[in-house]
């Protein structure tokens, strides 16, 4: 498993596709976490499920946790859930690449 992360529109999706031809790429993983928690799923369990079902997948996500804590409880829960889920994915990944301005830095 590999993980590509970055702020909005930093090119993590393109870089993941370019560096992993033929691999199954799961784009916008943060939005999948949003859908999962709206259905009442635990974000870590959701992430563990992905790790078990798709151990060779490449996961691409936005970093969403580095702002002022939102007033809206559901937005707070979303940011935290993305963090928890991505910690699980990062631990299960052989490589984690953080993308800024389209340039990847491998942090794991």
């Amino acid at each position: 498993m590999k993980l590509y992360i970055g702020g909005a529109y930093q090119g993590q999706d393109e870089l993941a596709a370019r560096e992993n031809p033929g691999a199954e790429i799961i784009q916008n993983f943060h939005e999948k976490v949003r859908t999962a928690i709206l259905k009442g799923e635990d974000p870590k369990e959701f992430a563990r499920g992905i790790c078990l079902e798709k151990p060779d997948a490449v996961i691409v996500a936005n970093e969403v946790g580095a702002g002022i804590v939102p007033m809206e409880a559901s937005e707070r829960a979303f940011r935290e859930a993305v963090g928890r889920a991505l910690c699980v994915i990062a631990q299960a990944s052989d490589a984690v690449v953080r993308v800024v301005c389209g340039i990847g830095a491998r942090i794991k």
Binding site: V64, G67, A90
Partner: protein, 171 residues
């Protein structure tokens, strides 16, 4: 040794900070808790952090403001969590934000090891009302000052520590 640990929401900062502490000698471990508990969400957060720390031998001190009032035995290993809560309490609850940094400087002299957790709240591009903007600016300044005096600083990115300064202790 003084360490500063930063990162976004839910990225595993606390877990990593506790891991650092558990690699240091197991004596006089103190956890300074700064969050005011006022609703169900904060009760859950405290419960989760307490469960994480349960078997690590910490004495917990509650200190929502006036950090200098904490009684720390010299030579202790202290985990201070966290600067954003401490600053918010000092700013919006009738305290004095200016006393945070001197109190931290005193702690660095008193403690064998001081691990400080802060937060990255600087990257959402939103312009907030003035009081929040002032809060962001003061938090950023505290983070810079603390990083300046720290031996080790790291950003935790989804459980992975990325070194900003120095070397991780005991690796």
């Amino acid at each position: 040794m003084t360490a500063l640990i930063t990162g976004g929401s839910g990225c595993g900062k606390s877990t990593y900070a506790e891991k650092l502490v558990t690699r240091l000698p197991q004596e006089k471990r103190v956890y300074i808790a700064t969050m005011r508990v006022y609703d169900e969400e904060s009760v859950r957060r405290v419960a989760r952090h307490r469960a994480q720390r349960a078997d690590k031998g910490f004495v917990t001190l509650e200190c929502p403001m006036d950090l200098s009032s904490t009684q720390i035995e010299p030579g202790s290993t202290v985990l201070l969590e966290d600067i954003p809560n401490l600053l918010a309490n000092e700013m919006f609850d009738g305290g004095s934000p200016e006393r945070i940094l001197p109190a931290i400087c005193d702690l660095t002299k008193k403690c064998a090891h001081l691990i400080i957790v802060t937060n990255d709240v600087f990257c959402d591009g939103v312009i907030y009302p003035e009081s929040t903007q002032t809060y962001i600016e003061k938090l950023a300044e505290l983070n810079r000052r603390i990083a300046g005096l720290a031996d080790y600083a790291a950003e935790v990115v989804y459980s992975i520590p990325v070194t900003l300064k120095g070397n991780a202790p005991c690796e």
